[in-house]
Protein backbone atom coordinates (compact mmCIF):
# COMPACT_ATOMS: atom_id res chain seq x y z
CA UNK A 1 0.00 0.00 0.00
CA UNK A 2 2.89 2.32 -0.62
CA UNK A 3 1.00 4.38 -3.18
CA UNK A 4 -2.04 5.04 -1.00
CA UNK A 5 -2.31 6.57 2.43
CA UNK A 6 -5.25 7.62 4.56
CA UNK A 7 -5.14 9.75 7.68
CA UNK A 8 -7.77 11.02 10.06
CA UNK A 9 -7.39 13.89 12.50
CA UNK A 10 -10.15 13.97 15.09
CA UNK A 11 -10.69 16.42 17.90
CA UNK A 12 -13.28 18.86 19.08
CA UNK A 13 -14.02 22.04 17.19
CA UNK A 14 -11.66 24.88 17.93
CA UNK A 15 -8.53 22.77 18.49
CA UNK A 16 -7.28 23.73 15.04
CA UNK A 17 -7.07 20.17 13.89
CA UNK A 18 -8.61 20.88 10.47
CA UNK A 19 -5.43 22.80 9.71
CA UNK A 20 -3.28 19.74 10.38
CA UNK A 21 -5.12 17.89 7.63
CA UNK A 22 -4.50 20.76 5.26
CA UNK A 23 -0.80 20.73 5.98
CA UNK A 24 -0.44 16.99 5.38
CA UNK A 25 -2.24 17.36 2.05
CA UNK A 26 -0.09 20.34 1.15
CA UNK A 27 3.03 18.32 1.97
CA UNK A 28 1.94 15.57 -0.40
CA UNK A 29 0.95 17.91 -3.22
CA UNK A 30 3.58 20.61 -3.12
CA UNK A 31 6.61 18.70 -1.87
CA UNK A 32 6.14 15.16 -3.13
CA UNK A 33 4.14 15.71 -6.33
CA UNK A 34 1.36 13.47 -5.11
CA UNK A 35 -2.40 13.83 -5.20
CA UNK A 36 -4.42 14.53 -2.07
CA UNK A 37 -7.97 15.20 -0.98
CA UNK A 38 -9.02 16.61 2.32
CA UNK A 39 -12.60 16.36 3.55
CA UNK A 40 -13.63 18.03 6.76
CA UNK A 41 -16.69 16.85 8.58
CA UNK A 42 -18.94 19.64 9.65
CA UNK A 43 -21.04 18.73 12.62
CA UNK A 44 -24.03 20.85 13.48
CA UNK A 45 -22.16 22.55 16.28
CA UNK A 46 -18.70 23.13 14.90
CA UNK A 47 -17.17 24.77 17.94
CA UNK A 48 -16.81 22.36 20.82
CA UNK A 49 -18.46 19.53 18.91
CA UNK A 50 -16.60 16.46 17.66
CA UNK A 51 -14.92 17.26 14.39
CA UNK A 52 -12.54 15.54 12.03
CA UNK A 53 -10.70 15.92 8.81
CA UNK A 54 -9.79 13.03 6.56
CA UNK A 55 -6.86 13.15 4.19
CA UNK A 56 -6.26 10.71 1.37
CA UNK A 57 -2.96 10.71 -0.48
CA UNK A 58 -2.13 8.79 -3.60
CA UNK A 59 0.39 8.88 -6.37
CA UNK A 60 -2.53 8.95 -8.83
CA UNK A 61 -5.67 11.07 -9.05
CA UNK A 62 -8.05 10.16 -6.25
CA UNK A 63 -11.52 9.13 -7.32
CA UNK A 64 -13.48 8.19 -4.21
CA UNK A 65 -12.98 10.97 -1.69
CA UNK A 66 -13.97 9.15 1.48
CA UNK A 67 -11.60 7.13 3.60
CA UNK A 68 -12.18 3.38 3.68
CA UNK A 69 -8.97 2.05 5.26
CA UNK A 70 -7.21 4.52 7.48
CA UNK A 71 -3.46 4.13 8.08
CA UNK A 72 -3.01 6.81 10.71
CA UNK A 73 -5.36 8.49 13.13
CA UNK A 74 -4.72 11.27 15.57
CA UNK A 75 -7.36 11.72 18.25
CA UNK A 76 -7.55 14.43 20.87
CA UNK A 77 -10.94 13.80 22.47
CA UNK A 78 -12.76 10.75 23.76
CA UNK A 79 -16.04 11.82 22.19
CA UNK A 80 -14.27 12.21 18.86
CA UNK A 81 -12.90 8.68 19.14
CA UNK A 82 -16.35 7.38 20.00
CA UNK A 83 -17.79 9.08 16.97
CA UNK A 84 -15.02 8.77 14.40
CA UNK A 85 -13.03 5.72 15.46
CA UNK A 86 -14.13 3.64 12.47
CA UNK A 87 -12.87 2.80 8.97
CA UNK A 88 -9.47 2.15 10.51
CA UNK A 89 -7.24 -0.57 9.11
CA UNK A 90 -6.26 -3.34 11.47
CA UNK A 91 -2.88 -2.31 12.75
CA UNK A 92 -3.68 1.35 12.10
CA UNK A 93 -1.31 3.72 13.88
CA UNK A 94 -3.36 5.59 16.44
CA UNK A 95 -1.88 8.55 18.28
CA UNK A 96 -3.78 9.79 21.31
CA UNK A 97 -3.27 12.17 24.17
CA UNK A 98 -3.82 9.95 27.25
CA UNK A 99 -5.21 12.85 29.25
CA UNK A 100 -8.05 13.27 26.75
CA UNK A 101 -8.65 9.84 25.28
CA UNK A 102 -9.00 6.91 27.66
CA UNK A 103 -10.61 4.07 25.79
CA UNK A 104 -9.43 2.82 22.43
CA UNK A 105 -9.26 -0.67 20.96
CA UNK A 106 -5.76 -1.77 22.02
CA UNK A 107 -6.09 -5.18 20.43
CA UNK A 108 -6.75 -3.98 16.93
CA UNK A 109 -4.56 -0.91 16.62
CA UNK A 110 -1.05 0.25 17.33
CA UNK A 111 -1.85 2.84 19.95
CA UNK A 112 0.71 5.47 20.86
CA UNK A 113 0.20 7.69 23.86
CA UNK A 114 1.78 11.13 23.86
CA UNK A 115 0.74 13.95 26.21
CA UNK A 116 0.45 16.39 23.32
CA UNK A 117 -1.49 19.02 25.24
CA UNK A 118 0.86 18.92 28.24
CA UNK A 119 3.88 19.03 25.95
CA UNK A 120 2.53 22.03 24.06
CA UNK A 121 1.56 23.80 27.25
CA UNK A 122 4.92 23.38 28.99
CA UNK A 123 7.26 23.75 26.04
CA UNK A 124 5.44 26.12 23.72
CA UNK A 125 3.27 28.04 26.21
CA UNK A 126 0.63 28.61 23.54
CA UNK A 127 -2.01 26.05 22.62
CA UNK A 128 -2.10 27.19 18.97
CA UNK A 129 0.95 25.01 18.47
CA UNK A 130 -0.96 21.80 19.25
CA UNK A 131 -1.26 21.12 15.51
CA UNK A 132 2.44 21.57 14.89
CA UNK A 133 3.39 19.29 17.80
CA UNK A 134 0.90 16.70 16.51
CA UNK A 135 2.28 16.91 13.00
CA UNK A 136 5.80 16.42 14.28
CA UNK A 137 4.65 13.35 16.20
CA UNK A 138 2.86 12.03 13.14
CA UNK A 139 5.97 12.56 11.01
CA UNK A 140 7.93 10.56 13.53
CA UNK A 141 5.45 7.69 13.68
CA UNK A 142 4.63 7.23 9.99
CA UNK A 143 6.86 6.90 6.99
CA UNK A 144 4.54 7.48 4.06
CA UNK A 145 5.58 11.10 3.69
CA UNK A 146 9.08 12.40 4.19
CA UNK A 147 9.12 14.31 7.51
CA UNK A 148 10.91 17.10 5.67
CA UNK A 149 7.91 17.54 3.34
CA UNK A 150 5.56 17.93 6.29
CA UNK A 151 7.96 20.40 7.86
CA UNK A 152 8.11 22.44 4.67
CA UNK A 153 4.33 22.42 4.29
CA UNK A 154 3.94 23.60 7.88
CA UNK A 155 6.40 26.39 7.20
CA UNK A 156 4.49 27.38 4.07
CA UNK A 157 1.12 27.42 5.85
CA UNK A 158 2.27 29.05 9.09
CA UNK A 159 0.98 32.58 9.65
CA UNK A 160 3.64 35.21 9.09
CA UNK A 161 5.84 35.60 12.15
CA UNK A 162 5.05 32.18 13.59
CA UNK A 163 7.38 30.17 11.37
CA UNK A 164 10.05 29.68 13.99
CA UNK A 165 7.86 28.56 16.91
CA UNK A 166 5.97 26.27 14.53
CA UNK A 167 9.21 24.60 13.51
CA UNK A 168 10.18 24.31 17.14
CA UNK A 169 6.84 22.74 18.00
CA UNK A 170 7.16 20.31 15.10
CA UNK A 171 10.57 19.20 16.34
CA UNK A 172 9.25 18.74 19.87
CA UNK A 173 6.59 16.35 18.58
CA UNK A 174 9.04 14.61 16.26
CA UNK A 175 11.61 14.01 19.00
CA UNK A 176 9.03 12.99 21.60
CA UNK A 177 7.87 9.94 19.68
CA UNK A 178 11.35 8.65 18.91
CA UNK A 179 11.49 6.27 21.82
CA UNK A 180 7.77 5.80 22.12
CA UNK A 181 6.47 2.24 22.00
CA UNK A 182 2.92 1.40 21.24
CA UNK A 183 0.60 -0.27 23.69
Amino acid sequence: MSDHFEARFAAVGGQGILLAGDIIAEAAISFEGKYAVDSPTYTAQVRGGPTKVDVIINTKRIEFTRTTAIDFMLCLAQKSWDRFGFDLKDNCTVLIDPSLVHEVDEEKYKVYRLPIIELTKTKMKKMVYTSAVSLGAMAGLTNYLNPESIRKALLKKAPRGTEEPNMQAFDIGFEAVKDLRHG
Binding site: D22, E26, I29, Y35, D38, A44, T65, T68
Partner: protein, 383 residues
Protein backbone atom coordinates in the same frame (compact mmCIF):
# COMPACT_ATOMS: atom_id res chain seq x y z
CA UNK B 1 0.09 17.39 -22.57
CA UNK B 2 2.63 20.05 -23.42
CA UNK B 3 4.84 20.51 -20.40
CA UNK B 4 5.79 24.12 -21.02
CA UNK B 5 2.14 25.07 -20.97
CA UNK B 6 1.51 23.10 -17.80
CA UNK B 7 4.28 24.90 -16.00
CA UNK B 8 2.44 28.20 -16.28
CA UNK B 9 -0.49 26.80 -14.38
CA UNK B 10 -0.79 27.60 -10.73
CA UNK B 11 -1.40 24.50 -8.62
CA UNK B 12 -3.51 25.12 -5.53
CA UNK B 13 -5.14 23.11 -2.81
CA UNK B 14 -8.49 24.77 -2.27
CA UNK B 15 -11.88 23.67 -0.97
CA UNK B 16 -14.63 23.51 -3.59
CA UNK B 17 -16.44 26.60 -2.39
CA UNK B 18 -13.28 28.66 -2.76
CA UNK B 19 -12.80 27.21 -6.21
CA UNK B 20 -16.28 28.43 -7.14
CA UNK B 21 -15.56 31.96 -5.91
CA UNK B 22 -12.10 32.25 -7.45
CA UNK B 23 -13.30 30.84 -10.76
CA UNK B 24 -16.21 33.30 -10.74
CA UNK B 25 -13.79 36.19 -10.28
CA UNK B 26 -11.68 34.78 -13.12
CA UNK B 27 -14.84 34.50 -15.21
CA UNK B 28 -15.39 38.24 -14.86
CA UNK B 29 -18.03 38.14 -12.14
CA UNK B 30 -18.02 41.54 -10.45
CA UNK B 31 -21.34 41.43 -8.61
CA UNK B 32 -22.42 38.93 -5.99
CA UNK B 33 -25.46 39.07 -3.74
CA UNK B 34 -26.07 36.35 -1.21
CA UNK B 35 -27.57 35.28 2.08
CA UNK B 36 -25.84 33.09 4.68
CA UNK B 37 -26.64 29.41 4.33
CA UNK B 38 -24.73 26.21 5.02
CA UNK B 39 -23.00 24.60 3.16
CA UNK B 40 -22.49 27.35 0.58
CA UNK B 41 -21.53 30.26 2.85
CA UNK B 42 -17.80 30.01 2.15
CA UNK B 43 -18.50 31.16 -1.40
CA UNK B 44 -19.87 34.42 0.01
CA UNK B 45 -16.93 34.67 2.41
CA UNK B 46 -14.43 34.59 -0.43
CA UNK B 47 -16.50 36.87 -2.68
CA UNK B 48 -16.83 39.49 0.05
CA UNK B 49 -13.06 39.71 0.18
CA UNK B 50 -12.18 39.29 -3.49
CA UNK B 51 -14.77 41.45 -5.21
CA UNK B 52 -13.89 44.80 -3.61
CA UNK B 53 -10.24 44.00 -4.35
CA UNK B 54 -11.25 43.80 -7.99
CA UNK B 55 -13.41 46.92 -7.79
CA UNK B 56 -16.50 44.71 -7.82
CA UNK B 57 -19.52 44.60 -5.51
CA UNK B 58 -20.52 42.17 -2.81
CA UNK B 59 -23.75 42.58 -0.89
CA UNK B 60 -25.33 40.43 1.78
CA UNK B 61 -29.07 40.87 1.31
CA UNK B 62 -31.87 40.51 3.84
CA UNK B 63 -33.00 37.16 2.48
CA UNK B 64 -32.54 34.67 -0.34
CA UNK B 65 -35.27 36.20 -2.46
CA UNK B 66 -33.66 39.64 -2.27
CA UNK B 67 -30.26 38.21 -3.19
CA UNK B 68 -31.77 36.76 -6.34
CA UNK B 69 -33.53 40.05 -7.13
CA UNK B 70 -30.35 42.05 -6.62
CA UNK B 71 -28.28 40.00 -9.06
CA UNK B 72 -30.98 40.31 -11.72
CA UNK B 73 -31.00 44.09 -11.23
CA UNK B 74 -27.22 44.21 -11.55
CA UNK B 75 -27.33 41.94 -14.59
CA UNK B 76 -29.55 44.48 -16.34
CA UNK B 77 -26.75 47.02 -16.00
CA UNK B 78 -24.46 44.69 -17.94
CA UNK B 79 -22.59 43.01 -15.09
CA UNK B 80 -21.67 39.34 -14.88
CA UNK B 81 -23.47 38.28 -11.71
CA UNK B 82 -23.74 35.34 -9.33
CA UNK B 83 -25.46 34.20 -6.17
CA UNK B 84 -24.85 31.05 -4.15
CA UNK B 85 -27.18 29.12 -1.93
CA UNK B 86 -28.25 25.71 -0.74
CA UNK B 87 -31.54 23.73 -0.76
CA UNK B 88 -33.88 25.95 1.31
CA UNK B 89 -32.48 29.07 -0.31
CA UNK B 90 -32.83 27.52 -3.74
CA UNK B 91 -36.51 26.94 -2.94
CA UNK B 92 -36.95 30.56 -1.88
CA UNK B 93 -35.27 31.88 -5.00
CA UNK B 94 -37.46 29.97 -7.41
CA UNK B 95 -39.94 32.73 -8.28
CA UNK B 96 -37.19 35.20 -9.12
CA UNK B 97 -35.31 32.49 -11.01
CA UNK B 98 -38.40 32.16 -13.19
CA UNK B 99 -38.39 35.93 -13.59
CA UNK B 100 -34.75 35.92 -14.70
CA UNK B 101 -35.53 33.16 -17.17
CA UNK B 102 -38.47 35.06 -18.60
CA UNK B 103 -36.85 38.48 -18.94
CA UNK B 104 -33.76 36.61 -20.16
CA UNK B 105 -31.28 38.08 -17.70
CA UNK B 106 -27.92 36.29 -17.61
CA UNK B 107 -26.99 35.08 -14.12
CA UNK B 108 -25.28 32.18 -12.39
CA UNK B 109 -26.89 30.45 -9.42
CA UNK B 110 -24.81 28.05 -7.37
CA UNK B 111 -26.67 25.47 -5.30
CA UNK B 112 -24.44 23.53 -2.93
CA UNK B 113 -26.87 20.69 -2.34
CA UNK B 114 -27.33 19.41 1.18
CA UNK B 115 -29.31 16.47 2.50
CA UNK B 116 -33.02 16.10 3.10
CA UNK B 117 -36.16 18.13 2.46
CA UNK B 118 -36.93 21.26 4.49
CA UNK B 119 -34.02 22.14 6.79
CA UNK B 120 -32.78 18.57 6.34
CA UNK B 121 -29.09 17.97 6.93
CA UNK B 122 -27.42 21.37 6.60
CA UNK B 123 -23.86 20.09 6.93
CA UNK B 124 -24.11 16.91 4.88
CA UNK B 125 -24.38 16.02 1.25
CA UNK B 126 -27.43 15.39 -0.87
CA UNK B 127 -28.19 15.33 -4.58
CA UNK B 128 -31.90 15.75 -4.21
CA UNK B 129 -32.41 19.06 -6.05
CA UNK B 130 -32.20 17.49 -9.50
CA UNK B 131 -35.87 17.87 -10.30
CA UNK B 132 -36.22 21.17 -8.47
CA UNK B 133 -33.53 22.59 -10.72
CA UNK B 134 -35.53 21.43 -13.73
CA UNK B 135 -39.06 22.23 -12.61
CA UNK B 136 -38.74 24.33 -9.46
CA UNK B 137 -40.22 27.55 -10.76
CA UNK B 138 -43.75 27.70 -12.08
CA UNK B 139 -44.39 27.69 -15.80
CA UNK B 140 -42.18 26.48 -18.61
CA UNK B 141 -38.68 27.76 -19.16
CA UNK B 142 -35.40 26.34 -20.40
CA UNK B 143 -32.84 25.09 -17.92
CA UNK B 144 -29.11 24.58 -17.86
CA UNK B 145 -27.61 22.84 -14.84
CA UNK B 146 -23.95 21.87 -14.60
CA UNK B 147 -22.81 19.14 -12.22
CA UNK B 148 -19.03 18.80 -12.14
CA UNK B 149 -17.40 16.00 -10.13
CA UNK B 150 -13.84 17.23 -9.62
CA UNK B 151 -12.48 20.54 -8.41
CA UNK B 152 -10.41 21.31 -11.50
CA UNK B 153 -13.48 20.51 -13.55
CA UNK B 154 -15.49 22.74 -11.20
CA UNK B 155 -13.21 25.68 -11.94
CA UNK B 156 -13.76 25.27 -15.67
CA UNK B 157 -17.49 24.68 -15.30
CA UNK B 158 -17.91 27.91 -13.34
CA UNK B 159 -16.33 29.77 -16.25
CA UNK B 160 -18.53 27.84 -18.67
CA UNK B 161 -21.60 28.66 -16.56
CA UNK B 162 -20.92 32.39 -16.94
CA UNK B 163 -20.31 32.05 -20.65
CA UNK B 164 -23.48 30.06 -21.23
CA UNK B 165 -25.53 32.47 -19.13
CA UNK B 166 -24.23 35.41 -21.14
CA UNK B 167 -24.39 33.79 -24.57
CA UNK B 168 -27.90 32.47 -24.10
CA UNK B 169 -29.25 35.23 -21.82
CA UNK B 170 -30.51 32.92 -19.11
CA UNK B 171 -29.87 31.72 -15.57
CA UNK B 172 -27.41 28.85 -15.37
CA UNK B 173 -27.31 26.56 -12.34
CA UNK B 174 -24.22 25.05 -10.89
CA UNK B 175 -25.41 22.06 -8.88
CA UNK B 176 -22.69 20.80 -6.65
CA UNK B 177 -23.02 18.84 -3.43
CA UNK B 178 -21.72 19.44 0.05
CA UNK B 179 -18.88 16.98 -0.46
CA UNK B 180 -17.52 18.88 -3.45
CA UNK B 181 -18.12 22.23 -1.75
CA UNK B 182 -16.03 21.35 1.30
CA UNK B 183 -13.54 18.94 -0.22
CA UNK B 184 -10.05 20.23 -0.93
CA UNK B 185 -7.99 18.72 -3.68
CA UNK B 186 -5.27 19.59 -6.08
CA UNK B 187 -6.52 22.11 -8.62
CA UNK B 188 -4.60 23.29 -11.62
CA UNK B 189 -5.71 26.82 -12.36
CA UNK B 190 -5.88 27.33 -16.09
CA UNK B 191 -4.12 30.38 -17.42
CA UNK B 192 -6.59 33.04 -18.65
CA UNK B 193 -5.19 32.50 -22.14
CA UNK B 194 -6.60 28.97 -22.06
CA UNK B 195 -10.24 30.02 -22.00
CA UNK B 196 -12.45 32.61 -23.55
CA UNK B 197 -14.87 34.88 -21.75
CA UNK B 198 -17.93 35.35 -23.90
CA UNK B 199 -20.10 38.44 -23.54
CA UNK B 200 -23.85 38.62 -23.95
CA UNK B 201 -25.01 39.76 -27.38
CA UNK B 202 -25.51 43.53 -27.36
CA UNK B 203 -27.48 45.59 -29.85
CA UNK B 204 -25.82 46.85 -32.99
CA UNK B 205 -28.84 48.95 -33.98
CA UNK B 206 -29.74 52.42 -32.72
CA UNK B 207 -32.05 52.85 -29.72
CA UNK B 208 -34.84 53.88 -32.12
CA UNK B 209 -34.59 50.59 -33.99
CA UNK B 210 -34.06 48.43 -30.90
CA UNK B 211 -36.49 45.79 -29.64
CA UNK B 212 -35.37 43.99 -26.47
CA UNK B 213 -36.79 40.65 -27.63
CA UNK B 214 -36.00 40.94 -31.29
CA UNK B 215 -35.32 37.40 -32.50
CA UNK B 216 -34.93 38.25 -36.17
CA UNK B 217 -31.20 37.49 -35.97
CA UNK B 218 -31.52 34.35 -33.85
CA UNK B 219 -33.15 32.94 -30.76
CA UNK B 220 -31.02 35.01 -28.38
CA UNK B 221 -32.05 38.66 -28.70
CA UNK B 222 -29.34 41.30 -28.20
CA UNK B 223 -29.51 42.85 -24.75
CA UNK B 224 -28.84 46.52 -24.11
CA UNK B 225 -27.30 47.52 -20.79
CA UNK B 226 -29.41 49.85 -18.73
CA UNK B 227 -28.37 53.50 -18.88
CA UNK B 228 -26.94 53.30 -22.39
CA UNK B 229 -29.74 55.17 -24.12
CA UNK B 230 -31.89 52.20 -25.08
CA UNK B 231 -34.50 52.82 -22.36
CA UNK B 232 -36.16 49.47 -22.74
CA UNK B 233 -38.92 47.89 -20.71
CA UNK B 234 -39.07 44.42 -19.32
CA UNK B 235 -41.66 42.56 -17.31
CA UNK B 236 -42.44 39.18 -15.84
CA UNK B 237 -45.73 39.26 -17.71
CA UNK B 238 -45.83 37.47 -21.04
CA UNK B 239 -44.41 40.00 -23.45
CA UNK B 240 -43.77 40.49 -27.14
CA UNK B 241 -40.63 41.58 -28.90
CA UNK B 242 -41.07 45.15 -27.64
CA UNK B 243 -40.82 43.92 -24.04
CA UNK B 244 -44.35 45.09 -23.26
CA UNK B 245 -47.10 42.81 -21.97
CA UNK B 246 -49.21 40.83 -24.34
CA UNK B 247 -51.92 38.22 -23.96
CA UNK B 248 -51.92 37.30 -27.63
CA UNK B 249 -51.84 33.48 -27.53
CA UNK B 250 -49.89 33.19 -30.77
CA UNK B 251 -47.15 35.53 -29.54
CA UNK B 252 -47.08 33.95 -26.07
CA UNK B 253 -46.56 30.53 -27.62
CA UNK B 254 -43.97 31.72 -30.13
CA UNK B 255 -41.95 33.57 -27.49
CA UNK B 256 -41.93 30.75 -24.95
CA UNK B 257 -40.97 28.30 -27.68
CA UNK B 258 -38.16 30.60 -28.75
CA UNK B 259 -36.89 30.62 -25.16
CA UNK B 260 -36.90 26.81 -25.08
CA UNK B 261 -35.00 26.76 -28.38
CA UNK B 262 -32.14 28.69 -26.79
CA UNK B 263 -31.31 25.39 -25.10
CA UNK B 264 -32.71 22.77 -27.46
CA UNK B 265 -31.11 24.52 -30.43
CA UNK B 266 -27.68 24.82 -28.81
CA UNK B 267 -27.12 21.34 -27.43
CA UNK B 268 -23.64 21.09 -28.90
CA UNK B 269 -22.63 24.13 -26.93
CA UNK B 270 -24.32 23.10 -23.70
CA UNK B 271 -24.09 19.33 -23.45
CA UNK B 272 -21.07 17.85 -21.78
CA UNK B 273 -20.49 14.35 -20.48
CA UNK B 274 -17.74 11.83 -19.97
CA UNK B 275 -17.77 8.16 -20.77
CA UNK B 276 -15.57 5.60 -19.08
CA UNK B 277 -15.26 2.12 -20.58
CA UNK B 278 -18.65 2.29 -22.25
CA UNK B 279 -17.51 0.99 -25.68
CA UNK B 280 -18.09 -2.66 -24.86
CA UNK B 281 -20.11 -2.23 -21.68
CA UNK B 282 -22.80 -4.71 -20.77
CA UNK B 283 -23.75 -3.01 -17.55
CA UNK B 284 -24.20 0.75 -17.73
CA UNK B 285 -23.84 3.14 -14.83
CA UNK B 286 -25.09 6.74 -14.97
CA UNK B 287 -23.99 9.05 -12.15
CA UNK B 288 -23.17 12.71 -11.63
CA UNK B 289 -21.33 14.89 -9.13
CA UNK B 290 -19.26 13.22 -6.43
CA UNK B 291 -21.38 10.05 -6.72
CA UNK B 292 -19.86 9.59 -10.17
CA UNK B 293 -16.43 9.33 -8.56
CA UNK B 294 -17.61 6.38 -6.49
CA UNK B 295 -19.25 4.93 -9.60
CA UNK B 296 -15.99 5.17 -11.51
CA UNK B 297 -14.21 3.16 -8.83
CA UNK B 298 -17.04 0.60 -8.90
CA UNK B 299 -16.78 0.27 -12.68
CA UNK B 300 -13.01 -0.17 -12.51
CA UNK B 301 -13.41 -2.78 -9.77
CA UNK B 302 -16.07 -4.58 -11.83
CA UNK B 303 -13.69 -4.68 -14.79
CA UNK B 304 -11.05 -6.26 -12.57
CA UNK B 305 -13.58 -8.98 -11.84
CA UNK B 306 -14.22 -9.47 -15.54
CA UNK B 307 -17.54 -7.66 -15.64
CA UNK B 308 -17.95 -5.33 -18.58
CA UNK B 309 -19.26 -2.24 -16.85
CA UNK B 310 -19.14 1.32 -18.17
CA UNK B 311 -19.90 4.77 -16.77
CA UNK B 312 -21.70 7.70 -18.32
CA UNK B 313 -21.13 10.87 -16.29
CA UNK B 314 -23.25 13.89 -17.22
CA UNK B 315 -21.34 17.11 -16.56
CA UNK B 316 -24.32 19.00 -17.94
CA UNK B 317 -27.27 17.45 -16.14
CA UNK B 318 -29.88 19.72 -17.70
CA UNK B 319 -30.58 19.47 -20.55
CA UNK B 320 -30.23 15.75 -19.88
CA UNK B 321 -27.72 14.03 -22.20
CA UNK B 322 -30.30 12.04 -24.10
CA UNK B 323 -28.21 10.79 -27.01
CA UNK B 324 -25.31 9.24 -25.07
CA UNK B 325 -27.76 7.74 -22.58
CA UNK B 326 -29.73 6.15 -25.39
CA UNK B 327 -26.59 5.00 -27.13
CA UNK B 328 -25.47 3.27 -23.95
CA UNK B 329 -28.93 2.12 -22.92
CA UNK B 330 -29.73 0.30 -26.13
CA UNK B 331 -26.79 -2.08 -25.97
CA UNK B 332 -26.61 -3.06 -22.34
CA UNK B 333 -28.26 -5.63 -20.08
CA UNK B 334 -28.98 -3.32 -17.18
CA UNK B 335 -28.54 0.28 -16.19
CA UNK B 336 -27.48 1.22 -12.65
CA UNK B 337 -28.26 4.76 -11.50
CA UNK B 338 -26.63 5.70 -8.19
CA UNK B 339 -27.63 9.08 -6.78
CA UNK B 340 -27.74 10.62 -3.29
CA UNK B 341 -31.52 10.92 -3.27
CA UNK B 342 -34.45 8.53 -3.41
CA UNK B 343 -34.50 8.43 -7.20
CA UNK B 344 -34.68 11.52 -9.40
CA UNK B 345 -32.28 11.37 -12.34
CA UNK B 346 -33.38 7.76 -12.82
CA UNK B 347 -36.66 9.06 -14.29
CA UNK B 348 -34.70 10.73 -17.08
CA UNK B 349 -32.58 7.63 -17.64
CA UNK B 350 -35.72 5.47 -17.83
CA UNK B 351 -37.33 7.96 -20.20
CA UNK B 352 -34.52 8.13 -22.70
CA UNK B 353 -32.35 5.00 -22.33
CA UNK B 354 -34.56 2.64 -24.33
CA UNK B 355 -32.99 -0.08 -22.24
CA UNK B 356 -34.22 -3.65 -22.71
CA UNK B 357 -33.07 -4.65 -19.28
CA UNK B 358 -33.88 -3.17 -15.90
CA UNK B 359 -32.98 0.38 -14.85
CA UNK B 360 -32.01 0.15 -11.20
CA UNK B 361 -31.30 2.87 -8.69
CA UNK B 362 -28.73 2.87 -5.92
CA UNK B 363 -30.17 5.42 -3.56
CA UNK B 364 -28.70 6.61 -0.36
CA UNK B 365 -29.65 9.60 1.73
CA UNK B 366 -28.81 10.68 5.25
CA UNK B 367 -25.71 12.63 4.36
CA UNK B 368 -23.43 9.64 3.83
CA UNK B 369 -22.00 9.17 0.34
CA UNK B 370 -22.62 6.10 -1.74
CA UNK B 371 -19.55 3.89 -1.49
CA UNK B 372 -18.05 2.16 -4.54
CA UNK B 373 -18.79 -1.23 -3.00
CA UNK B 374 -22.50 -0.51 -2.86
CA UNK B 375 -22.56 0.25 -6.57
CA UNK B 376 -20.37 -2.76 -7.35
CA UNK B 377 -22.82 -5.05 -5.55
CA UNK B 378 -25.59 -3.88 -7.86
CA UNK B 379 -23.39 -4.25 -10.94
CA UNK B 380 -22.55 -7.81 -9.94
CA UNK B 381 -26.19 -8.59 -9.34
CA UNK B 382 -27.09 -7.83 -12.95
CA UNK B 383 -23.90 -8.97 -14.67
Amino acid sequence: MDNTEKKQRQVVFWPGNKVVAEAAVAAGCRFFAGYPITPSSEIAHVMSKRLPEMGGKFIQMEDEIAAMGAIIGASLTGQRVMTATSGPGFSLKQENIGFASFIEAPCVIVNVMRGGPSTGLPTALGQADVMQARWGTHGDRPVIALTPSYLDELYNEVIRAFNLAEMLRMPVFLLIDEVLGHLSERVEIPDPSEYELVERPRPTVSPEEYYPYDSSQGDVPPMADYFTGYRWHTTGLNHDKTGFPTTDPVICQAEEERMERKVSGNLELIEKYEEYMTEDAEIGVVAFGTTARAALVAVADARKKGIKAGLLRPVTLWPFPEKPTRRLGQRIKAMIVPEANLGQMIYEVERVAGCNGPVVGVNKIGGVPIYPGEILTRIEEFA
